[in-house]
């Protein structure tokens, strides 16, 4: 699946996007954030305060318990500050 990062998550991870293949037990957005955080120091730093990180699945806002089944694109980002 494709992972996108925005704003300070992008800066901390050091990537705007990456392709990952998490194991089957990674079933929800929260599972994925934990799994990504375990990859290396940069990811751990990005997800160190997981409660503030927002997510979208296939371009729709979701909560952290949302299932990943069938999802192609996951985005992680801080609370939005547009307008």
């Amino acid at each position: 699946m494709k992972i996108l990062y925005f704003a300070w998550l992008r800066e901390r991870v050091g990537l705007a996007e990456e392709e990952v293949a998490p194991p089957a037990e990674v079933a929800t957005v929260a599972d994925l954030a934990r799994w990504l955080a375990g990859r290396d120091e940069a990811h751990a730093y990005a997800f160190e305060n997981a409660a503030v990180v927002r997510a979208a699945l296939d371009r729709r806002h979701v909560k952290s318990d949302a299932p990943l089944a069938g999802v192609r694109e996951v985005a992680f980002f801080p609370p939005m500050t547009g307008g």
Partner: protein, 161 residues
């Protein structure tokens, strides 16, 4: 006419608003809102030199379109235009434009405020500040609880409908 655009270029607020009534006579009122890059965006410290707006291409348009669709379901709108810029902007530059058209003013005012409130909290845009004493002095703007409360007010209103 209903239209959502994300662009780097500036926009002409008057020309955008005029499009809503062009070629029709049923529009009784157009409400417009233009958001500008403000110099005192953060309290204290040195002045703001610039803002850089990052966005999620694709989702930004879709998310705003979902709120335009909801606004159309809630109020009898005859048109709406939302333009949101991205890239580097300096104080005084226009950032966002919302215009709504309806036969009567109440719907146009309410829908414009609804769209702006949701835009602030759910459209995937992020602002990074540059301060006058160098790009490292700035940082990502933090979301404001007051903006969340403004958007949630509409969700409460809907629950009471």
């Amino acid at each position: 006419m209903f239209c959502v655009r994300i662009q780097e270029a500036p926009f002409d607020a008057a020309a955008e608003a005029a499009r809503l009534a062009q070629g029709r006579t049923d529009v009784g009122g157009i409400v417009t809102f233009t958001g500008l890059c403000r110099a005192d965006a953060a309290a204290g410290g040195t002045g703001l030199a610039a803002l850089t707006l990052e966005h999620y291409p694709g989702m930004a348009e879709e998310e705003i379109e979902r709120h335009v669709a909801e606004a159309r379901a809630r109020w009898p709108l005859l048109g709406a235009i939302v333009v949101h810029r991205h890239g580097r902007l300096v104080p005084g530059d226009p950032i966002v434009f919302v215009a709504t058209a309806s036969a009567h003013r109440t719907a146009a005012f309410a829908a414009a405020e609804f769209l702006m409130d949701w835009l602030k909290t759910s459209a995937p845009f992020w602002k990074k500040e540059e301060r006058a004493d160098g790009p490292e002095a700035g940082g990502w703007v933090e979301a404001k609880a007051s903006d969340d409360q403004a958007a949630e007010r509409w969700a409460r209103d809907r629950a009471q409908d």
